[in-house]
């Protein structure tokens, strides 16, 4: 069973531990600006919403990449940017309808969540279990994917099943 990040904004206190853990894990600095997970603050409601990549099946980023730099990790299901191959063209950043691939101007490459190879630092750092790493079929991901499907242009792998055997 593949696991995925489950996010429960009701439990988020906005402490930003996840952002710092992410930045430290992936960039070696406690600078939230480098984090792949972001906490958004709804001031009026006093609400915090953690937000990152859902590792969606459609993988717009992966399909849009012109140089084959985004690949799927077969173990975790994460869509991972190969830094050495990424040229920094940013096409994936506009193709992802969730806006979870970002361009890092200092490295000239794009960055996105890679699930830390199956041991996500954000989930470990979260003191309130607002971010947990659980079996994929548990999460709100399906709903998110349903929403994402509206952006679909008939190009998902799910849609790509032959409806009738086309003759030879």
């Amino acid at each position: 069973m593949q696991k995925s990040l489950n996010i429960d904004p009701n439990k988020c206190t906005g402490c930003l531990q996840c952002e710092m853990a992410c930045a430290y894990e992936l960039e070696g600095s406690f600078n939230p600006a480098h984090s792949r997970i972001k906490i958004f603050h709804f001031e009026e409601q006093g609400r915090f919403v953690p937000y990152t990549c859902t590792q969606c099946a459609e993988a717009w980023c992966l399909h849009a990449c012109p140089v084959d730099a985004i690949k799927m990790d077969a173990t975790t299901g994460a869509k991972v940017v190969d830094e050495a191959t990424c040229v920094g063209c940013k096409v994936c950043t506009i193709a992802c309808p969730f806006g979870t691939v970002n361009y890092n101007q200092s490295s000239g490459k794009v960055i996105k969540c890679d699930l830390c190879g199956g041991d996500p630092a954000c989930a470990k750092a979260c003191p309130t279990e607002a971010i947990t790493y659980v079996d994929a079929n548990w999460t709100g991901l399906d709903k998110m994917r349903e929403w994402a499907a509206k952006t679909d242009t008939g190009t998902t792998t799910a849609a790509a099943k032959p409806s009738a055997p086309a003759g030879h």
Partner: protein
């Protein structure tokens, strides 16, 4: 069943992969026109600036990709199509048969009819061969004149400027990237380039190019507004047009691009078209047009391949969108960025810091956007436009503060996913 794909850019290569996935036993022939393995034109600026080697521009990182997937690759020029015999004529005199044919022949650079422009030393920046030539000729102090400040003109500017040349741009439009950005934004990009030491002339055009035999710099360039500019090297990035010549007499209907229906079929049975050569469906207008952008080319390729494989897949339309890096200043535009009749907009301008965000609405739905200096979560603009999310009260909030974009997105588009 034999599938033949003409053109080995993103549309053709994506199509070949999908066809292999769906039709394990079929024969697939991919024909490319250039000597290199299939590569991405999008990656050329990064090759030019030295970030990647030539191999870094290839569409597939695995050198054995085509062999592994039993995709036959042929480098050839297709000169004619004979749908009656279901045959392609190649420049070599050979022919190749097909059962299903995909035309993904892309576009080629065009130049304005200016006296002197036919000089063979004037180069475009479209192919790897062009890039090699530019890299060789751009030396510190070389005077370079670049015609055109469209998408390609802008994206190669950083690499050219980085070689230490003296760069001058001549653009016909009243601003930079006029087909992607409005006046405010296009002029901000112009000011940015000027700050970086590049000379930019807008609202004018080259009217005559003189090549001087005995004097350096060897080119004297006359402009419409009466200027005389000198250059050692001229780069023409004055637009591209669909490659259609080989279709004469084939019966495949064209009108500034190959006409296709929502299943990517041309007017001739068993012939499909995809990518920069095809007039595909536009998400925003429902009309058919040549978008000539990378994400659309790959969408076309996938959908065409599915239809060729017998999986009936209508194309609901691709969203026109672009992301551009002009000497380090990042801009993007989406959908109906120029606004719609009876529409409404939100705008944020910070000239000093080269920041701009403009959102176009129809009722309470986002239909277009332009952004300058935005690199974080920029994809939500696509998400909001293509899901036609009703923003409700968030539209007014965005009008008073467009930077609330992410909050609006989370509150409206993602609301259903939050417990």
């Amino acid at each position: 069943m034999k599938h033949v794909i003409v053109g080995a850019g993103p549309a053709g290569v994506v199509a070949s992969g999908i066809l292999r996935k769906l039709r394990a036993e079929d024969e697939i022939l991919l024909i490319g026109g250039e000597p290199e393995p299939p590569y991405s034109r999008m990656a050329i600026p990064y090759y030019l600036i030295g970030n990647v080697k030539e191999e870094g521009t290839y569409l597939k990182t695995d050198a054995d990709h085509y062999k592994k997937h039993r995709i036959d690759y042929l480098q050839a020029q297709v000169t004619k199509i004979d749908p009656k015999k279901k045959e392609l004529h190649l420049e070599s005199g050979k022919t190749a048969g097909y059962d299903k044919l995909l035309l993904a022949t892309g576009a080629f650079p065009i130049r304005p009819p200016v006296p002197g422009i036919e000089d063979p030393d004037i180069t475009g920046c479209w192919t790897l061969a062009d890039a090699r030539l530019i890299a060789k000729r751009c030396k510190k102090g070389t005077k370079v004149l670049q015609m055109g400040a469209g998408f390609i003109g802008c994206i190669i500017m950083e690499a050219i400027a980085a070689t230490g040349v003296e760069l001058t741009i001549v653009e016909m439009g009243d601003r930079m990237v006029p087909r992607m950005m409005n006046e405010t934004c296009g002029n901000l990009i112009k000011r940015w380039c000027e700050k970086k030491g590049i000379t930019v002339h807008t609202s004018t055009q080259v009217t005559k190019i003189e090549k001087r035999k005995d004097k350096k710099p060897r080119y004297l360039i006359h402009t419409k507004d009466g200027q005389q500019l000198e250059a050692d090297l001229i780069i023409a990035s004055t637009g591209v047009a669909p490659a259609l010549d080989y279709l004469k007499g084939s019966g495949v209907e064209t009108d500034g691009g190959i006409l296709i229906n929502e299943h990517m079929e041309t007017s001739v049975a068993d012939i499909y078209a995809a990518g920069d050569c095809a007039k595909g469906r536009d998400f925003s207008t429902g009309g058919y047009e040549v978008q000539a952008i990378q994400p659309t080319a790959t969408e076309h390729g996938r959908i065409a391949a599915q239809n060729m494989a017998g999986v009936q897949t209508p194309h609901p339309g691709s969203l026109n969108m672009n992301v551009l890096d002009t000497v380090g200043l990042i801009s993007s535009s989406f959908g109906q960025w120029m606004g719609v009749e009876g529409g409404d907009h939100a705008e944020l301008l910070d000239e000093e810091n080269f920041r701009y965000l403009r959102l176009e609405f129809k009722d309470d739905v986002l239909v277009g956007a332009q952004a300058l200096g935005l690199t974080q979560h920029v994809g939500v603009l696509r998400g909001l436009i293509q899901t036609e999310t009703h923003l409700g009260p968030w539209k007014e909030k965005l009008k008073s503060d467009p930077t609330q974009l992410m909050s609006a997105y989370l509150a409206k588009a993602q609301a259903q996913t939050l417990p």
